[in-house]
């Protein structure tokens, strides 16, 4: 009984991974109709599975965290914040269900633009400041590495800023050179190395020897 359950718990999932990946990989090398179809079915399942989990699983974990945080720290503020979150969930879902056109209705789009899209854009704007302050800390010419980082960073920044293109026209070809020559050299090496690592991961997983998945209980 014990052995049986161990088989179902550990061996079968490993087999599923190997089999699925071979089915998906095969059509890239040989052209067999059945394999192509199976590969398409598997691809469509991935989308359905992620959609099914997306409908509620995240909400469960979020609720857990919110509830536990309130239990630890019973303040009105915590309660207000939790209520805000759920109010916005209900508002959006409510609009999507009740308004004609669902997510394409003007009411939903209004909220989508003003909250989701707007804050999303602001988050990226925020990053300007985090990058600026981290560069202020690290782009100090105190070593060869930091100097090359600063050189790559500052020259290409200046190349992109219109006023410097006018003031220092040579900055444009220099910036392009940084981008197209040393940058390409370095990033190609890094890309090849990472691709090799990824390939090894893939081969090992198909082989059924990947440990990061196997013992997950």
């Amino acid at each position: 009984m014990m052995n049986m359950s161990a088989t179902w718990r550990t061996l079968v999932p490993v087999l599923i991974v190997s089999l699925t990946s071979i089915i998906v990989l095969a059509p890239f090398f040989i052209n067999i109709g059945l394999l192509n179809d199976m590969s398409n079915v598997l691809s469509s399942w991935t989308v359905i599975i992620s959609a099914v989990t997306g409908t509620a699983l995240g909400l469960v974990y979020m609720t857990h965290a919110i509830y536990a945080s309130y239990q630890r720290n019973k303040q009105t503020e915590q309660l207000v914040m939790a209520a805000t979150t759920y109010a916005f969930i209900i508002l959006h879902i409510g609009l999507a269900i009740t308004q004609p056109g669902g997510v394409n209705s003007s009411a939903y789009q209004w909220w989508y633009t003003v909250v989701y899209q707007n804050v999303g854009a602001t988050i990226y704007a925020f990053m300007f400041f985090t990058l600026a302050s981290s560069a202020y800390r690290t782009m100090i010419l105190n070593s060869v590495e930091a100097a090359s980082l600063a050189a790559g960073g500052l020259i290409y920044t200046l190349r992109q800023i219109p006023i410097f293109q006018t003031w220092f026209p040579w900055m444009v070809p220099l910036g392009e050179w940084i981008l197209l020559v040393p940058n390409v050299g370095g990033s190609r090496g890094a890309v090849i190395a990472a691709a090799l690592a990824a390939t090894v991961y893939g081969v090992r997983t198909i082989w059924g020897k990947e440990i990061s998945l196997r013992e997950v209980s």
């Binding site: 079968v12 599975i49 050179w177 190609r188 090496g189």
Partner: protein, 208 residues
């Protein structure tokens, strides 16, 4: 009126988000709570729409099997049967590995090598000018030295250490270029938000 409301609410969220740059405060926390709700809801709606269009509207056997596999994911929440969730997860990972292997080797290894050599060839036989040849050689050196930096079985000492150091310089220049690409992009986003405030709030109020 509706326009002005959009400007007001929108500006509020912009300020709330950026205010954490100053320090953690209640306006930021309120904004965060609201956005978390909005984003979760949006994801749920989008997922439900996909299920509707891919499964429920057709009611064919294969999509329904997918739906069942998806529901198996929820067994994770129950300790006794949580292992069942490994089945659908395994399918996802398997598809990922297959797709990855198919693309990675050719596109990211062989072609990158090919392009590096191709640059030299073009420079030597087609373009023929000294600058192009020099550039292609620099790229070649960059690729080789940065790959040496990523060798893990050889300690970085002596000649290997020196080569790895050169590789690191190439890597750092590349990182710097990536940094500045992003910096200027984010600045554009900031300008975009300022334009939003001007167009949606200040213009309706007659201030700009």
């Amino acid at each position: 009126m509706a326009d002005l409301l959009m400007g007001l609410v929108g500006t509020f969220f912009i300020v709330a988000t950026l205010s954490v740059l100053w320090k953690d405060n209640i306006v930021f926390r309120f904004g965060q709570a609201a956005v978390m709700g909005a984003a979760t809801a949006h994801y749920m709606i989008m997922s439900a729409t996909s299920i509707q269009s891919m499964v429920l509207s057709q009611m064919q056997i294969i999509p329904i099997l997918g739906l069942i596999l998806g529901l198996l994911m929820y067994t994770r929440l129950f300790t006794k049967i949580s292992w069942v969730s490994k089945y659908p997860s395994s399918i996802l990972v398997g598809v990922g590995i297959g797709v990855m292997l198919a693309g990675t080797i050719k596109g990211q290894i062989l072609q990158q090598v090919g392009m590096t050599l191709g640059d030299i060839q073009t420079a030597l036989f087609t373009t023929g000018d000294a600058m192009a040849i020099l550039n292609s050689v620099i790229i070649f050196v960059g690729v080789v030295t940065s790959l040496v930096y990523f060798l893990f079985t050889i300690e970085h000492k002596g000649t290997v250490g020196l080569i790895a150091k050169v590789g690191r310089v190439f890597l750092m220049i590349s990182l710097g270029a990536n940094f500045s690409g992003e910096l200027v992009w984010y600045q554009t986003q900031m300008i975009g938000r300022l334009m939003f405030i001007i167009q949606e709030l200040l213009v309706p109020l007659g201030l700009a």
